[in-house]
């Protein structure tokens, strides 16, 4: 291991009888973008909020910038920057005032004017928070996370609820931070986001890390196969589909058959032949290159976007 700026070992968090985080371990190196990928309710936000010092943990060891968030939360807050989920600013606070106000809380500060420019908010300088669009609010949230020039950034679901175009805008912003070698821990339930932005990803489900590595490693581990999704007019037996040419795995998910193939053209030809002989018909067919979604499906039998 190189220079870990953040280390988590066997982290556990309970809410009453519910164990939201069940022994999560990972570490983040300086200068990398690390993603926690998982469905809603997987325990990502709880994990991140423990690391930010907002929540207490039930057990496990945590070190963030060399500090324990539970004992040293005040010192830690000077070292980190965060864009939280479900947060807001007062409606009648102006954009520039928000940046100046939050900058004033820190020992180390960046010029708010420069942040406005960098996040494309110069025109909204004097706008009230309530007048901003969803994308602008999110860009302001990211800009505010940088007011203290932090060593480590936390972005919790930075594009949740934004439309695809705005989401790509936010990706550009994060990619720029990545080029600046900023260390970022982000959570997301979007495959595309994790694949595009993260150097390494931990896939989380039901409070546990089920896979960890670079997006490429994870995809290779899932077999590097092509995913073929078909809907049929009549039900089929998975076993039969698994015997098609080139198929290494076949599962049924919500009425869709998901086949993993090493030789997609041959698989499709043999699928069509098989269906003809059975008197069955293809309703739809989709072909996708391997993604982290496949890793998730393989490990949990469920789709990530549920």
């Amino acid at each position: 291991m190189g220079n870990a700026i953040l280390q988590v070992e066997n982290l556990v968090k309970r809410y009453g009888d519910v164990e939201a985080v069940r022994g999560v371990s990972f570490s983040v190196e300086e200068g990398e973008v690390f993603g926690l990928l998982g469905p809603n309710g997987a325990g990502k936000t709880s994990t991140v909020e423990i690391l930010e010092g907002l929540r207490t943990r039930d057990s496990g060891r945590v070190s963030v910038c060399g500090l324990d968030p539970q004992g040293n939360s005040q010192a830690l807050k000077h070292e980190i920057g965060a864009a939280l989920q479900s947060t807001a600013l007062p409606d009648k606070l102006r954009v520039i005032e928000a940046l100046r106000l939050f900058a004033s809380f820190y020992k180390k500060r960046r010029d708010p004017e420069e942040l406005l420019e960098r996040f494309g908010l110069e025109e909204k300088r004097q706008a009230f928070y309530s007048q901003l669009s969803g994308g602008q609010k999110q860009r302001l949230a990211l800009a505010m996370a940088l007011v203290n020039d932090p060593k480590l950034l936390f972005f919790d679901e930075p594009t949740a609820g934004l439309d695809p175009q705005v989401r790509r805008e936010i990706y550009d912003v994060i990619e720029e931070l990545k080029r600046d070698k900023k260390t970022i821990l982000m959570t997301t339930h979007y495959i595309e986001e994790a694949e595009r932005l993260c150097d390494r990803v931990a896939i989380i489900d039901h409070g546990k890390v089920i896979a960890l590595g670079t997006p490429r490693e994870l995809k290779t581990r899932s077999g590097g196969t092509t995913r073929i999704e078909v809907r049929l007019s009549k039900a089929e037996c998975n076993g039969t589909l698994r015997n098609l040419e080139g198929v290494v795995d076949a599962r049924e998910l919500d009425g869709t058959y998901v086949l993993h193939s090493q030789r997609p053209p041959q698989t499709i030809v043999s699928l069509v032949k098989h269906l003809e002989s059975e008197g069955n018909e293809l309703v739809s067919l989709e072909i996708a290159t391997p993604s982290l979604e496949d890793v998730f499906i393989e490990m949990t039998g469920r789709r990530l976007r549920d």
Partner: protein, 313 residues
């Protein structure tokens, strides 16, 4: 600038941009001011002087209302969480709320004092220092009460209900609306357990009789200790997140804040000092009214305090 100063500055700025603030903290107080001094005080200096105390007390006490609403809104909308992830401490946030409230109350109070002197010819405003001490102590203690209300309620609706439940007895049983001397005996007895009663009476004594701050030490000491207790409690109860539960130990502390005025209430119910003072102040105003315009005396049956000196006929 310290976190406390930055936050105070922000709160003042936000309040001045808020239409609700404008109505409740500027328009309403002046409606009360002109209504009380002009109508109930019959626009005579003695009447205006008598009712200026209740008007200032209402101004000061109203601070808990807006403050509890603001903090609950901040918590519900996730604004407090944003501050929580920065180096801001709960004490910075709470103290800045109280101080911003005081700063926003002062201009209204100053303008009311000026108008009382210029329009209603109230000439007994010599002890301005005393008035401002009471404004400060009163605002701080009632603002702290607002912080506690914000912590023990979960939604805006709950906050407004609790505000109403506290506000109504405060204004009707304390002499802040109807003169204490007018209230039935049993209500007077209950009123002696309310901080509002002492605030109203202290204002009246300082305005009408130019009483010194030192001579009002009982009221001031109780309000100060109450302010310290409620502020301390608000720090114990403070929640950044809507879903955080209040520790049971902290709920018990709510009872502790009642101690200063329970003690004072028991003492005052034995001595009847406050009741006598308020009776005398009211009597003096009535006498002036009688001498000026016979027949203008208010006709409600006043409740009488034990051994209260009767106003001179």
């Amino acid at each position: 600038m310290s976190n406390f100063a930055s936050l105070t500055h922000m709160r003042i700025r936000l309040a001045l941009r808020n239409k609700m603030f404008f109505f409740f903290s500027i328009v309403m107080p002046f409606i009360f001011f002109f209504g009380y001094l002009g109508f109930f005080g019959k626009s005579v200096p003695a009447g205006a002087a008598y009712f200026l105390g209740p008007v200032l007390a209402l101004n000061v006490m109203g601070s808990f209302w807006g403050l509890s609403a603001t903090i609950v809104t901040f918590r519900e909308q996730g604004i407090l969480r944003r501050f929580h992830v920065s180096p801001v401490r709960a004490s910075d946030l709470l103290a800045s709320s109280v101080v911003a409230n005081l700063a926003l109350t002062l201009p209204t109070v100053i303008l009311e004092l000026l108008l009382a002197r210029l329009i209603f010819q109230v000439r007994t405003l010599d002890n301005l220092g005393g008035i401002f001490v009471l404004v400060a102590v009163g605002t701080i203690s009632f603002a702290s009460l607002g912080l506690v209300i914000a912590s023990v309620t979960n939604t805006m609706q709950e906050t407004q209900i609790l505000n109403q439940l506290i506000w109504l007895p405060l204004i009707f049983l304390s002499g802040a609306t109807l003169p204490l001397a007018y209230l039935p005996r049993v209500v007077q007895r209950v009123g002696l357990f309310l901080p509002a009663t002492y605030l109203v009476n202290a204002f009246q004594q300082v305005i009408i009789n130019s009483a010194t701050v030192l001579s009002r030490y009982t009221e001031i000491a109780s309000l100060v200790s109450w302010a310290i207790l409620t502020f301390f409690l608000s720090m114990q109860l403070f929640r950044w997140e809507p879903e955080t539960k209040i520790p049971r130990r902290a709920k018990l502390l709510v009872l502790a804040t009642a101690i200063p005025f329970v003690l004072l209430g028991v003492w005052e119910n034995r001595t009847d000092r406050i009741l006598q003072e308020s009776q005398a102040a009211f009597g003096a105003f009535q006498t002036v009214l009688d001498s000026l315009r016979p027949g203008m005396r208010m006709t409600l049956q006043p409740g009488s305090a034990v051994n209260a000196p009767k106003p001179p006929k």
